[in-house]
């Protein structure tokens, strides 16, 4: 099964014609345009193990491009994981693009990121997830290579989970296991249109993302693969459909896989 997924992944990367780096589960090193903001609504549907009860997370998000180099995301985490809908926290994510080598239709870029998350839910898993489960901070680097035929992006980050709001880490083990290294690898392609004529053409993109984390103390790792289909509408709206599947799951998570739907609207020259 793993080999099949990898084979399909490579096939996906090389058969098609144009590159695409508007990734869903990760951020590319490129920034959004200066003086632009975007609104995002993301929902994830994650079946809990072993009960199979689906946890639904809803993340409203605003993204702001301040300058050509600096941008940020501010989001809120709402979920029904505890049985009823609760606002569990939020996060601020800041990205600075610091390196660019561009040519027509190609580029190599690097960016540094920082994230601060807070969360008031109970800590229920060994993996540290600043996207709706844990309070903490994250620092990392992203490198993105856009070529004519493929966009590849890799990132690594240091994640330090802290005590969630209103709750302590409730075991000694959890206190020790709060530091982790995150890593990602993403590839993206454009399916449609075959040839660009206007900004009103529907774009259909496909991506495969590998998402992983290794706990510094325990050395345990999870690795997920997440295929994504994305529509770009009128060159300013995005609709993403993704599904995250664990392919290696040593690091405990209560709901490791599931679906994602996201809508994004960009406001250019907004301020």
């Amino acid at each position: 099964m793993k080999k099949l997924i990898l084979f399909l992944g490579f096939l996906f990367m090389f058969v098609l014609t144009e590159a695409q780096e508007l990734f869903t589960y990760t951020e590319p090193a490129s920034n959004m345009a200066a003086r632009t903001f975007a609104l995002r609504m993301t929902s994830t549907f994650m079946p809990e193990r072993p009960s199979a009860v689906v946890n639904t997370h809803f993340n409203p998000e605003i993204m702001i491009g301040f300058t050509k180099r600096w941008m940020c995301h501010i989001d809120a985490f709402i979920s029904n994981r505890a049985g009823e809908w609760e606002t569990e926290g939020g996060s601020v994510y800041v990205k600075r693009r610091f390196y660019s080598v561009d040519n027509v239709h190609t580029h190599f870029r690097m960016a540094a990121i920082g994230r601060f998350s807070f969360n008031n839910s109970n800590i229920h898993q060994e993996a540290v997830d600043l996207n709706g489960h844990n309070s903490g901070i994250e620092f990392g680097l992203i490198a993105t290579q856009l070529l004519h035929k493929v966009a590849l992006s890799a990132s690594t980050s240091y994640i330090n989970g802290t005590e969630n709001v209103g709750e302590k880490f409730y075991t000694k083990e959890k206190m020790l296991n709060r530091r982790a290294i995150g890593f990602t690898l993403s590839a993206g392609k454009l399916f449609l249109p075959k040839s660009y004529i206007s900004y009103n053409q529907l774009n259909l993109n496909g991506m495969i993302e590998i998402l992983g984390q290794t706990n510094v103390q325990s050395g345990r790792t999870f690795i997920d693969v997440a295929p994504v289909i994305q529509c770009i509408i009128k060159s300013r709206m995005r609709l993403d459909l993704g599904y995250r599947m664990p392919i290696s799951n040593q690091l405990t998570r209560t709901a490791p896989g599931g679906g994602l739907i996201r809508f994004e609207y960009n406001f250019f020259n907004a301020f």
Partner: protein, 181 residues
């Protein structure tokens, strides 16, 4: 005083101020393939006051800006807008309408208050619609800028500002555009 007068005279002789209008600017942006990125550039270019219309070629990342009649074009601002959208200018060409404008290698032409330093051209007089191509850093790819350095040994090409090497030695440090036909 005599020095100042002679300097002014030199300036008058070798810097030709000419009446010329820009009616079109074409740019190619680098570093993008998708229509949303292209649209980010397109939208930011629409904020330029001297532009009346933009035609975009998404596939080639090209933008043709029609210039309002008699408007003064700020080429550096066009470059800044592309960079603010997160990309770079790989090529910029402007279509001027010249009237008896004399040019030669390493001579300046003052148009709409901006200095244009010509490179890789034979002595000639320009009349009517003529395209000129920008050669400075930020107006071509990094690779082409290195290649263009062979066109002149003058220091002003490296800095993009008028230097002691420039004719007349006036307005030191003033931004200038290095261009060719």
């Amino acid at each position: 005083m005599r020095k100042i007068i002679s300097l002014l005279m030199v300036t008058l002789i070798i810097t030709t101020s000419t009446l010329a209008q820009v009616n079109k600017v074409t740019i190619q942006a680098s570093g993008l393939t998708c229509s949303m990125c292209s649209n980010a550039i397109n939208k930011t270019l629409t904020t330029l006051a001297f532009v009346s219309q933009i035609k975009s070629n998404i596939k080639e990342s090209e933008f043709e800006l029609s210039i309002k009649p008699n408007a003064k074009v700020d080429f550096a601002l066009i470059k800044k807008k592309v960079e603010d959208a997160g990309f770079f200018v790989a090529r910029m060409e402007a279509q001027f309408v010249f009237q008896e404008a004399s040019i030669a290698q390493d001579t300046h032409l003052e148009i709409q208050g901006s200095q244009f330093h010509f490179l890789n051209v034979k002595p000639q007089t320009l009349n009517g619609e003529t395209k000129i191509r920008f050669l400075d850093k930020g107006y071509v790819t990094a690779k082409e800028f290195k290649k263009n350095a062979t066109l002149t040994k003058l220091n002003c090409f490296k800095t993009g500002k008028s230097d002691v090497c420039c004719e007349g030695k006036h307005n030191l440090g003033m931004p200038l555009y290095h261009v060719t036909l």
